[in-house]
Symmetry: C2
Subunit: 205 residues, 2 copies
DNA sequence: TTTAAAAACTTAACACTGTTAATTAAATTT
DNA sequence: AAATTTAATTAACAGTGTTAAGTTTTTAAA
């Protein structure tokens, strides 16, 4: 039947509407200011209607998160052009820092808040978009090791170290902790210097 | 006058009572479950009484945070006995990881939540306890460089890199992101391996 | 075309949250 | 003992996520 298909399509449209407007609210007012009622008001529905399309607020946050990963992956498309693993890893780190600093609210959601992960556990689903990014990271590290550009070690160990450092940089910056180490106006510059330092340091002499 | 002194002392006692009970609530139920009303109930006062001793909830969180730093510094006392800068830096990192994993709620407050920093800005105060820890880190890095144990670089850059990595490890672990990279039971072990890897890598050959 | 069933949506309500203003109770000073 | 200051409370506001019950709209059957 064409009717049930159309209905399904309409349902998906409202779902998208909810998610889009939620993300706008995020970017405009920040994570803590986003409420079910505010989202509902924006799309001209009653607050409880959202519960017909999503289990709870966390699930909405989770899907917003997913769209954040899409955004991040798009930034990394051009990465394939770089053949040198170290150089590629470096550019990947630069992209990561830029993403976090440009869209702190997205970043907050994707890597700092616990709500999206709670939703993920509730849903029994996988972290598909996040996993994809991590796989890419592991592959680059593996590649660099295969080509003898970095000292051999367990891939997971090095990947975790690299990810942790860039995440640490971004999350400390977002939460205004890095300006306790260097003046606020130097934070961004020093973040990039730290990343450069790591890449330079891990590069086999 | 002795009376005004005694009164001041009583006031301080209630302040301490509020902070102690708040921290207990933290450890028992986690950051998100702590409310002004719950704290008040625990100390058998009405919720609004807390506002006679603290400006707002954020200020309470800030002072809880401070006691977290004290706890952390205590763990680092034995550090002075280690003379080799690299070894000292390594042990400092190990302590950091252990602290974060043992007291995730404290860690959350100190380095992940934005509330305590908002309070700090409102109060126009300094991050004395945090600054102290960062100074210690910078000094060790400087020492290691002076002794030619690591490749020379800007101290802030290296300190930021090291801090960011350990913070990244702990915060990603707390927010259940690291188990997307390695199985949950291997997370803690791999975190330590990542730290070891960093120290080994930055050590001048 | 009218009627029964299903789907979509809203209203009302619950149990919370941080916080302020007004009020009462207790302690201190005159 | 009365007046004043300090301490603590009650009531209330405006907001939060969420559920149950009721209403409107749409679809399917008679």
């Amino acid at each position: 039947m064409g009717i049930v298909a159309r209905k399904e399509k309409q349902k998906q449209e409202i779902r998208s509407l909810i998610l889009e407007e939620s993300m706008k609210l995020f970017v405009e007012e920040g994570f803590s200011k986003v409420s079910v009622r505010k989202i509902a008001e924006r799309i001209q529905y009653s607050p409880t209607t959202l519960y017909l399309y999503f289990k709870d607020k966390n699930e909405i946050l989770f899907y917003c998160c997913e769209s954040g990963f899409k955004k991040m992956l798009e930034q990394n498309i051009a990465l394939g052009l770089i053949s040198d693993p170290i150089e590629r890893l470096h550019q990947m780190g630069v992209n990561y820092l830029n993403f976090g600093l440009e869209y702190p609210e997205y970043y907050d959601l994707m890597f700092i808040q616990e709500a999206p992960m709670s939703a993920l556990i509730d849903m029994g689903a996988g972290w598909s978009s996040g996993d994809q990014a991590l796989e890419a990271l592991k592959m680059i590290v593996q590649d660099a090791m295969d080509k003898g550009l970095i000292v051999p070690a367990k891939v997971e160990t090095v990947a975790m170290a690299v990810w942790s450092m860039v995440h640490g940089l971004v999350s400390l910056a977002i939460r205004q902790r890095l300006d306790k180490l260097v003046p606020a106006e130097d934070v961004e510059k020093t973040m990039h210097e730290s990343l450069d330092w790591l890449l330079k340091t891990m590069k086999k002499a």
